[in-house]
């Protein structure tokens, strides 16, 4: 009269077994298809047609393509591949489907424009993407900022960068800093200080954790470069005064040139080398630094800036 015990046991075991089996197979299939499924974006010759085909669900489809873009970039990045050819089409499709998805433009400005291996190395395309964004969202100061950022950082086209910043500063609610950036562009183009202002603005204004981590890594690198430049000046002064190189930071502190042992942005003490150079202790954790790398240092294939790294 009750449900048969034997059937229950057999069906239960089959259920558990097949559940486990399906997970194993899914992992195999996913690994095999990691990018295969994305490659179909290459067949989408017209994102506008896709928008029409989405039957009005273009917002949802945009979100899906946006996640695909982030996933694609993250996965490719952590695999150490330098090829991001799908990033541009993915972002283009995303922004065609939803032209108001600001984070997608911001992402393009930061990762499509950046040089390899940190980005796709396509600054011109990135600038075009952001310009299209401005057309659809003329009241978003952030887009002007992103455009100026690309011109300044990657294309080194300072007049265009200045123009973008000053245009952006006229938008209502614009970050007051845009005006400052526009004004200083003429005099201070190329300064480390300028770069710092830009990265700080990016860091403070973005909502995206990957963009923020990237900005933070650049800010850290700028500080390391500044610190080491300052320290090298003191060492030179010491050498002039005493005729020899300092043996440790203690020598510099005793002679009043340094208030204490200096720490890098990650809280590690800098290393004073025998030849008078200053090095950081964990170069892998400080990507983008120009100074302070050990002699003959080979950076890891993938810059470590993602928060999960």
């Amino acid at each position: 009269m009750k449900a048969s015990g034997k059937v229950t046991i057999v069906a239960g075991l089959l259920l558990l077994g097949s559940l486990a089996g399906s997970v194993v197979l899914l992992r195999k299939i996913d690994r095999m298809r990691s990018h295969a499924s994305l490659e179909e974006v290459l067949y989408i010759s017209s994102p506008k047609a896709l928008k029409r085909l989405s039957l009005g669900y273009d917002g949802l489809l945009a979100d899906i393509y946006w996640t695909r873009a982030v996933q694609y970039f993250g996965a490719t990045h952590s695999q150490g591949s330098e090829h991001y050819e799908l990033l541009a089409p993915l972002l283009e499709i995303t922004t065609t489907l939803d032209p108001h998805l600001l984070v997608a433009y911001e992402y393009g400005a930061n990762f499509m424009a950046a040089k390899r291996p940190n980005g796709a190395g396509q600054p011109e395309e990135a600038a075009k993407l952001v310009e299209r964004g401005i057309e659809s969202n003329p009241h978003e100061w952030r887009l002007y900022y992103n455009l100026g950022f690309i011109y300044y950082m990657e294309l080194k086209d300072y007049p265009k960068a200045a123009a973008a910043f000053s245009q952006g500063s006229q938008v209502s609610n614009a970050h007051p800093f845009l005006k400052v950036l526009a004004a200083q562009m003429a005099q201070h183009a190329g300064d480390a200080e300028m770069a710092r202002m830009l990265w700080t603005t990016t860091y403070e204004s973005t909502q995206d954790h990957m963009i923020r981590a990237n900005a933070l890594a650049h800010l850290r690198a700028l500080r390391v470069d500044q610190d080491i430049t300052a320290m090298e000046e003191r060492i030179e002064m010491y050498q002039k005064r005493t005729g020899k190189l300092p043996e440790s930071f203690a020598d510099l502190i005793q002679s009043g040139l340094l208030p204490g042992v200096p720490l890098d942005p990650l809280g590690h003490a800098y290393k004073l080398m025998d030849d008078g150079r200053v090095e950081v202790r964990t170069p892998d954790d400080l990507p983008f630094i120009e100074k302070g790398k050990p002699l003959g240092y080979v950076p890891p294939k993938v810059p470590k800036f993602l928060p999960s790294d």
Binding site: M1, K2, A3, S4
Partner: protein
């Protein structure tokens, strides 16, 4: 070995959106059906007959208790092969013809090919559907469906047949045929267990009956045994247009039609009733004893104004 043993089967349904509300459809039921007998399962609407039968057939799982059929469990396919079942208001695949349906059921019951074809043909004749064998069931009337239902229940020559209201939807001729069929089945040595509202059928057919009311068993036994305990009644008819108040008080029924009055009352009130009539100077036309029937017993057990309250419970 009894054909069917119901050992404390009970059922509580949980109703309402959250299934919080408990509804007792059947109190623990104890019942034995002997092999070879025709057993009637009686009770008013909602008494729990169908619920009991569905538990017996393994379609619904009981809240407690068990049942044994032919000494085994109904969950055993070998036991089910020995049982034929007609559900209440049967409904079948209506895209099949009667012949195809019986063929299919024969296959599921494991009847081999050649034998199956013969059996199906004979069975269609037996339930009076010889003509309609090749008609799709969606074109069948209610009574014809009931006949198909009976045919499928006995197709595989089971030892026990369980019918839930076999007479419902049938015309008087059909009811007579089913009655004859049940009797034939008994002759063939089968056990028949059926539920019904039609007491005259039960009275005419059954070796034993059980009466169920509000999920509780109110009486089991042979019809004669059950009715023996019911108090007899008499019918009085006199001429006149009114009944004396004293007579009204002791009558169970009273009808005035034209210039005669008819009253039904308990046997033991006969003397006092005649006295009242004599005193009032009314002329008695007839006095007849009323044979106590299963219906009286049934009403006495489940009726709204239970004359002998508590009996059998």
């Amino acid at each position: 070995m009894p054909a069917i043993e119901i050992l404390g089967l009970e059922k509580t349904y949980h109703v309402g959106f959250w299934r919080k509300q408990a509804k007792r459809a059947l109190h623990p039921l104890q019942l034995t059906v002997a092999e070879g007998e025709i057993f009637g399962f009686l009770g008013p609407n909602g008494a729990g007959k169908t619920t009991t039968i569905k538990m017996l057939m393994g379609l619904v799982f009981p809240s407690g208790g068990t049942a044994r059929v032919l000494g085994g469990s109904i969950s055993d396919p070998a036991v089910r092969a020995q049982v034929g079942f007609l559900p209440e208001q049967p409904y079948f695949y209506d895209y099949l013809t009667a012949r195809e349906l019986l063929e299919y059921y024969g296959q599921l019951s494991g009847i081999p090919g050649q034998e199956r074809r013969q059996k199906v043909k004979a069975m269609l004749e037996r339930v009076g559907l010889g003509e309609a064998g090749n008609v799709q069931l969606r074109k069948f009337s209610k009574g014809m469906l009931q006949r198909v239902g009976i045919a499928q229940a006995i197709l595989h020559d089971p030892k026990i047949v369980i019918f839930d209201e076999p007479m419902s939807g049938l015309d008087p001729m059909g009811r007579r045929e089913v009655r004859d069929l049940i009797e034939q089945l008994k002759q063939e040595g089968k056990t028949v267990f059926f539920s019904t509202h039609i007491l005259s059928d039960a009275e005419a057919l059954c070796d034993r009956v059980a009466i169920l009311h509000q999920g509780q068993l109110r009486g089991v036994g042979a019809v004669a045994e059950l009715t023996a305990n019911v108090q007899g009644k008499i019918e009085l008819i006199w001429s006149g247009t009114t009944a004396p108040a004293a007579l009204k008080a002791i009558s169970a029924e009273l009808h005035v039609s034209g210039d005669t009055v008819r009253a039904v009352l308990a046997e033991d009130r006969q003397e006092s009733a005649l006295d009242i009539l004599k005193q009032s100077g009314l002329r008695l036309i007839s006095l007849t004893p009323v044979r106590s029937s299963l219906e009286d017993y049934f009403v006495s057990q489940v009726g709204p104004d239970k004359i002998s309250a508590g009996a059998g419970s």
